[in-house]
Amino acid sequence: MMNHAAASGAAAAQAAAAPYLVVNNVEVIYDHVILVLKGVSLEVPKGGIVALLGANGAGKSTTLKTISNLLRAERGDVTKGSVEFRGERVDQLTPNELVRRGVIQVMEGRHCFAHLTIEENLLTGAYTRNISRRELAADLERVYHYFPRLKERRKSQAGYTSGGEQQMCAIGRALMARPQLILLDEPSMGLAPQIVEEIFEIVQDLNTKEQVSFLLAEQNTMVALRYAQFGYILENGRVVMEGTAEALRENEDVKEFYLGLSGEGRKSFRDVKHYRRRKRWLA
């Protein structure tokens, strides 16, 4: 059921490798006035899976958008810090160039092209690659292999598919670009448990077989920490804790607030007390 052993083995091997993606002390402001990231630094090693955890509004999505340079489209500005990918500064590149270099983001909230069919959605994913029709068809098959449900719905306009189907479509679309680093923003949101497992299996699959690295922002901490080798916890625009997945999983606070575990194991949602407020980490 779980692939602990495999995951931690890979982690050990890669810990020594040179950092692949480095985010260095970035500060982000929206709309000229709203300061959201207050100096976030993190690293993703080559071939690693790194989880970015944190409460709503902590700045996870913003961090990812900073890396993929999609911020500008939301009137956000990076006022400080730098982003390096494979040793080169990439913070001035266009998203297009980033995708060509292998960094792609799957945005939170799906963002499928509503009027295109599922298949067309997937095909646009390969926009940056110049490949033959055959290769394209093969890649398409690969995605359909991962998400059989998409194959059934491939002629439907994405706007008319269910939420989960759209999520699959968004992930599949990113896979079509054959990226080396995927920034996954809440991949499990709105997916049935089975599919969540599947998606993470796919993540792991890509990671081990094709050396694709992942940075995932995820609320489903339980699953995320199971597959990731390393994790950062973001709070209020700052990294408040970082560590290997095991370390985090064992941390008492993480256990209580992110995994919903207390001394005796999982607590029923029915019994949680309303007035219980979380203590905040001070950064």
Binding site: I29, D31, H32, V33, L35
Partner: protein, 355 residues
């Protein structure tokens, strides 16, 4: 430090729900209104009344009307000038055909006529959305003007379809001096602007905005789409109609249907976009900006270059700068001048810290 809300606690919802909850705002607005009623008449020259302030006020009113429809209720319309024409011609006819009709009553009736026409042309909005609706409102624009030109009854059989505004008498006071016309316009605009602000902050306005932001959701939470949209069309057209009446009566005096052409509709749309969609303040800022900018550019060019430039050159460059500035403003702040103002306020609040 100047702009702080600190210490202004709201003890009741009543206080929190005032029209301008922040004290500084209240003082500023009161000062502006006072200045407009007392200060301006003392200082401004006739040029300012007749050529700048009065038309700018009237355009503000029309922009406010369009803002209700487009900014608040989200129904893009390119027919504002058409509704202004209805207001102007209806007011003229009420004055003409009913003996002893007081101007203000005629003006309100003119607005009501515009509202009715607005409802008719608003009916398609129940099915049609976005740019499709915008183009559909063009039908209103063209159709209304066509009717006014085609049926001479509306212009009292004047040979060329032109109407001449009657004299305005309010309770025995004849409004004929530029200052008086200005004051009358100002009074009407002030009252209607307050009403608009009130509408916007009560459930009427919230229903509009809900329909604008997401009509499916609005319907699901129980907002009747038909009523809300038509109401927005009616009220918006009413404002435009009154603006049209003022345009004819306190500004130009003599108007032809042509004066309310498509260009004017666009100009008003411009005002709300530049000023700020969905804000009352934006209507005023936008109207001021769009009326003043070309004049300013024209004067600036004269001052800078005198006659040394070929005249057509200056005119064309003005046009290009005007267009360029509009694009520039949209890029800098897509939400318009009103938003810039708001950001400015937020910065003031934080001052001297950047964030």
């Amino acid at each position: 430090m100047i702009y702080r809300e600190a210490g202004q606690f709201k003890a009741s919802y009543e206080a929190d729900m005032q029209i301008f909850p922040i004290r500084q705002d209240r003082i500023a607005i009161a000062a502006i209104v006072l200045f407009a009623f007392v200060g301006v008449p003392l200082f401004a020259s006739e040029y300012w009344f007749q050529a700048i302030i009065t038309p700018a006020l009237i355009f503000s009113l029309a922009a406010l009307g369009l803002n209700i429809l487009t900014g608040y209720a989200g129904q893009l319309s390119l027919g504002a000038a058409g509704f202004m024409a209805v207001g102007a011609f209806a007011t003229y006819n009420f004055m003409l055909r009913i003996d002893g009709m007081p101007f203000l009553v005629a003006m309100v009736l003119g607005g009501v006529c515009a509202a009715l026409v607005g409802i008719v042309f608003g009916l398609p909005s129940l099915r049609i959305k976005g740019f499709y609706l915008a183009v559909a409102t063009l039908a209103a624009q063209f159709f209304i003007l066509w009717v006014l030109v085609k049926f001479p009854w509306f212009s009292n059989y004047s040979a060329s379809g032109v109407i001449t505004a009657q004299e305005i008498v309010i309770l025995g006071w004849t409004v004929d001096e530029p200052v008086e016309k200005y004051l009358l316009t100002l009074a009407v605009v002030t009252v209607l602007a307050l009403a608009a602000k009130n509408l916007a902050r009560t459930h009427t306005g919230r229903a509009w905005m809900a329909v604008r932001d997401m009509d499916v959701a609005a319907e699901v939470i129980g907002i009747p789409l038909m009523k809300t949209k038509l109401q927005a069309f009616a009220i918006s057209s009413f404002y435009c109609g009154v603006a049209g009446a003022l345009y004819a009566f306190t500004y130009l005096g003599t108007v032809e249907p042509e004066a309310f052409n498509l260009d004017l509709s666009f100009k008003i749309l411009f005002m709300i976009i530049i000023g700020g969609v969905g804000t009352v303040l934006g209507s005023f800022l936008g109207a001021a900006f769009i009326t003043l900018l070309p004049i300013f550019l024209n004067q600036l060019f004269h001052a800078l270059f005198g006659d040394s430039l070929p005249p057509a050159f200056a005119s064309n460059v003005e046009l290009m700068i005007f267009g360029g500035l509009i694009i520039f403003f949209l890029i800098v702040e897509p939400h318009g001048l009103a938003r810039l103002w708001q950001i400015g306020k937020e910065k003031l609040r934080l001052w001297p810290f950047p964030h």
